[in-house]
Amino acid sequence: MGSGISDAFDMNAGDSIGELPGKPVEVSSNPAEWLKKNLFANIANTLLTVVGGIATVLVLRGVLNFVFSEERRWDAVRTNLRALMTLAYPESQYARIWVSVAVLVTLVGLSSGLWANWGTIRVQRLCRWGMSLGGFIILCILLREPSVLLDSNGIVLRDSFSEPVRESFSSAMMSRSTWWIVGISFGGSGLAGWYRLDSTGRTKTVSATSTVLVPLGVLVVSLWVAPYGHYAYSDGLFIAEPGERVALSTSIPWTWLYLLLLATMVLGRFVRNSDLAGIAKTLVNVSWVISPFVLYWVILRDPDFDYAHVVSTDLPMGLLFGFLGSIILWWLTRSTGETARIFAVCLVGIAGFNWVAAAFGWYPMLQKARISFLLLAVAALLAPNFVGELAKRKKLVTYWLTTMLLVHYMATTINSPSTVDISSSEFLGGLSITLFVAALTIMFSFPLGVLLALGRTSKFPIFRVLSTGYIEIIRGVPLITILIFFSVMVPLFLPRGMELAELAAAITGYTLFSAAYLAENVRGGLQSVRNGQFEAADALGLTSVQRTGFIVLPQALRVSIPPLVGQVIATYKETSLLAIIGIFDFLRVANSAIPSQTAFLGVKREGLLVVSAIYFIFAFTTSKYSQRLERRLGVGER
């Protein structure tokens, strides 16, 4: 018995050991041989195969019977799709949502055109996928129990033992004809490809991009032809028209989005090979970083500027800071020397004092001015790195002007009321708030996490103690306690009755939490940078900031890409906790909003299944993409 089990589980004795984990077992030409080798190698192995097979069939059958049961109310989800995505966003303003999605799609398209080299996939592999998918679908069709018969009132018919009466097996198979077609066409095309192609044909490749774009295109086209049914909830009425095609308000935007994706990808590919590639890449990067803010403040919120105030106060102030700051920075970068550093330290002091003074109400300096001052101090601290040729000095001034104008613009929009006609407490909800919180959390926690990691690996003991203490405390407590803590604490520091205080609290909590974990990932990367790199940088006379920025961080971050992607996925999954602290993310919509609608009282499982599926699709594709990325990076490594 012992040796049998060890055979079945002995990975080191078998031939799979040298392979990369996750690499599929190469299919030998003869199916019988393959079966013998991979399923029935010896008695113990056969036994395990039988047990595993029975268990799989039972579980699959249970899941299918559950999902396709006549008792499932899938129309609850279909009707509430819009609520799941955006909750209470008014129908009249919905164009804004589409514009936001279009902006994101544009960025995705441009980025993948500019950077992505997804490589190719072998036809052989596609064929295998087709065969497995088709086989799986057919297996599912066969396993699902025949449907329960309903009487004219929709009540389940029962026999004398009060067991439900089911249709006959043959009629059940007949009624699943659509699924048969789908399964056979997948399996058949895979099989046909497999046997039609000779060995050279199978090793041919197709681009991985097309394996994503073609199915997406088929889905979009099917919106126009397939009878998915028309379900909606509008003006307090539930619309349920099974057998209809989806409404034009769904199919038209999606078609446009798909075309936009194609167009931007082509554009990106085109720009990539031109001289503009460098500028385009920078622009797209910047757009990604500012997109959540711009989308929120400009498109979804649409500030209603008080132009008199803007012209009299906001504009002059922005220009003043931009102008004065530029002069100061230009002067600071004229030559190296301690004057610049001393001046910068003075600026930091003054900027810090402004905040203290404002906190005690000593003199009323506008918040915008205080923030600008602080930014100027930071820029002054960086100034010694930009001393030298004209181009570098200009670069610093340009950075300064852009940051300043952006900050002033954002501050102005924050302080302006919105023209979008809804209360801000239910401003956004559903999946969109989930994505919004996840994006902001990742963006804010990244710099904080890098700083903490640097602190933890620092030579300076106090920095080390501070960072380690922070990281370990945060990692020692559950996220929910931190979220609740900040949902009490953050509103204390915000102006009374400010909009979206809950959301600000949640993002603060998420950011501080996820920064600690991110720091640990980056720390792994930092520790992998060899000591010689530090020494070489020191020997060349680089300052410690330059050493960190040019030598250490680029290498460390490259190593930590896989765990960082893991952290992104984790953050995205953690946004589900928004439901607990009272924000209507799509989990909460599925878990409590839908079940409390009169038409769908207590219908919970369907919504939760859909939510799981959406989470799964996002997380799974991201992790697969990161594995691909990891392999590709690994190839280039020495």
Binding site: S6, A8, N12, A13, T49, G52, V356, P461, V477, V488
Partner: protein, 508 residues
């Protein structure tokens, strides 16, 4: 030449703002000051705002009757807030410990499946891991909860095995093992058995080493332990006499004056610090004389001494209650222990109670005698177990794959059988790779039980939320949560570290 060179070398100190050491420490102290200052500032601001908006922050609720009922736990109707939180803590720990055990079991099996040569098992393992890992735990818990909530209603004869195993929309009810009358007396016997078994094992190993015969040391030791425990089942009342000495110890401890404990604690703290410093200096001393200490060395010494002084300050002045609390706790412990002995305890050490269904009002429900696991418990429990198991499976797989192939080849070349190779060569090395991440997962599991708040299982977070909803004292409750979870984390990392040190390969 040399003289002129030397005379020109006046060890000039640079101005302080260019001195590396000074700058280094000034920067650090400045940042420390900024951090402490801003925390102080934030805290005082928060305090002001809390007072302004009349949010209470005291801990009175701990000794006031909260007037809440808990869904389950050792005390369904706690009479103080502190007791309610205590019940929540026990519930959390119960869930975490059981979860860790089961998650390890499931995880190892799935991990072995993923390593298997069997195609089907391999795919099952992969599908499990990918499915579970990519769906948020909270969603899974809610899903399980809603599925369980749709189970059949409770009736007087609810199955599957009425009277033994009840499953319904009120949860699961199974026979409950509990410690009874003579347990502590019996525990003494078992401890004696352990000592005996260990002695037998050592003896047998000695014989095996000498003669080479297989003496089966583990098996004999287990047999001895079983035998002694079985005999102890009947003769345990002879240990009833322990009642008196334990009580006398308790009384003796309560006679110690509080000041003595304070002084003792202070002396211990100081002595530890001084001993550490002396050892540290010794390590820096060589035949050539005491090495010049670096800045870090000074920092460490100052840190150790300052820590000791702070301890002394805390023990003597800031918190004298600590010492009396320690005294009382130890004394109480012995009192409670003494009560477990004697007094005519002669019954079975362990007992079992079968579940039952009772009908008090209109609806039947599970009675108190069985071990009742509510829907909430089941949802959270299966949620954390399945979720953590997926991660443990990956750790197991990674750990085994990380053992170099040469190891099994070398072992095979020695002519060892496969099972022996697996047990003696692969698994010990894999275990060492797996331990640290495994500890992390246990920690995550313990923390993830806090999601019980979503399905209403009375863990510490859910109870805490109920308490602060009643009293409005959110921050004190949050502080108790954090302390509790931090001490759990600390315990788990201490345990994992202990094993980690033991399994570490000695490298030069």
């Amino acid at each position: 030449m040399a003289d002129t060179a030397r005379s020109s070398l006046t060890q000039s100190r640079p101005p302080f703002y260019r001195d590396v050491t000074v700058v280094k420490w000034v920067v650090q102290i400045f940042v420390l000051a900024v951090v402490i200052g801003s925390m102080f500032f934030l805290a005082s601001e928060a305090g002001d705002n809390l007072r302004a908006s009349n949010v209470p922050t005291d801990y009175d609720f701990l000794s006031v009757n909260p007037g809440i009922d808990l869904s389950e736990g050792i005390d369904r109707d706690p009479d103080t807030g502190g007791r309610a939180l205590w019940v929540g803590m026990v519930n959390t720990l119960r869930m975490a410990l059981a979860g860790i055990a089961l998650a390890t079991f499931v995880g190892v099996i799935i991990g072995l499946c993923r390593l298997s040569n069997n195609w089907l098992l391999n795919k099952i393992g992969s599908a499990y891991v990918e499915l579970i890992r990519n769906v948020p735990l909270l969603v899974q818990i809610l899903l399980y909860g809603s599925v369980f909530a749709n189970l059949p209603r409770v009736t007087q004869s609810v199955g599957p095995i009425s009277g033994w195993l009840h499953l319904s929309n009120k949860g699961l009810s199974v026979p409950r093992f509990h410690i009874a009358d003579g347990f502590y007396q019996w525990a003494i016997v078992v401890m004696v058995g352990l000592v005996l078994a260990n002695y037998v094992r050592k003896k047998r190993v000695g014989i095996q080493d000498l003669t080479g015969d297989d003496t089966r040391p583990i098996r004999s030791a287990l047999l001895v332990l079983l035998g002694v425990s079985a005999v102890g089942w009947f003769v345990h009342p002879v240990f009833g006499f322990l009642n008196t000495p334990l009580r006398q110890i308790s009384e003796g401890i309560s006679l110690i004056p509080q000041a003595a404990v304070q002084v003792a604690l202070a002396v211990v703290a100081l002595a530890l610090a001084v001993r550490w410093v002396i050892k540290f200096l010794d390590a820096r001393r060589s035949p050539a004389g005491l090495a010049k200490l670096t800045d870090d060395d000074y920092f460490r010494i100052i840190f150790a001494l300052a820590g000791a002084l702070i301890m002394v300050f805390v023990v003597l002045i800031l918190w004298p209650g600590l010492s009396s609390w320690l005294l009382n706790a130890v004394s109480d412990f012995f009192t409670v222990l003494s009560e477990k002995f004697g007094n005519g305890r002669s019954g079975r050490p362990l007992d079992v109670a079968l579940p039952d269904v009772i009908q008090v009002g209109k609806f039947p429900n599970y009675g108190p005698s069985g071990l009742n696991l509510s829907i909430g418990f089941a949802a959270v429990f299966f949620g954390v177990v399945f979720y953590t198991a997926a991660f443990i499976a990956e750790i197991v797989r990674g750990g085994v794959l990380a053992v170099p192939r040469g190891q099994s080849e070398a072992a095979n070349a020695l002519g060892l059988r496969r099972w022996t190779v697996l047990r003696r060569v692969i698994l010990p090395q894999a275990a060492r790779n797996m331990l640290p991440p495994l500890g992390n997962q246990y920690l995550n599991l313990a923390k993830n039980t806090s999601l019980a708040i979503a399905v209403g299982y009375s863990d510490i977070v859910q109870v805490g939320q109920t308490v602060y909803n009643q009293t409005g004292k959110t921050l004190p409750v949050v502080s108790i949560w954090m302390l509790f979870y931090l001490s759990c984390s600390l315990t788990i990392s201490v345990v994992v570290n202990f094993f980690n040190v033991r399994t570490k390969i000695v490298e030069r």
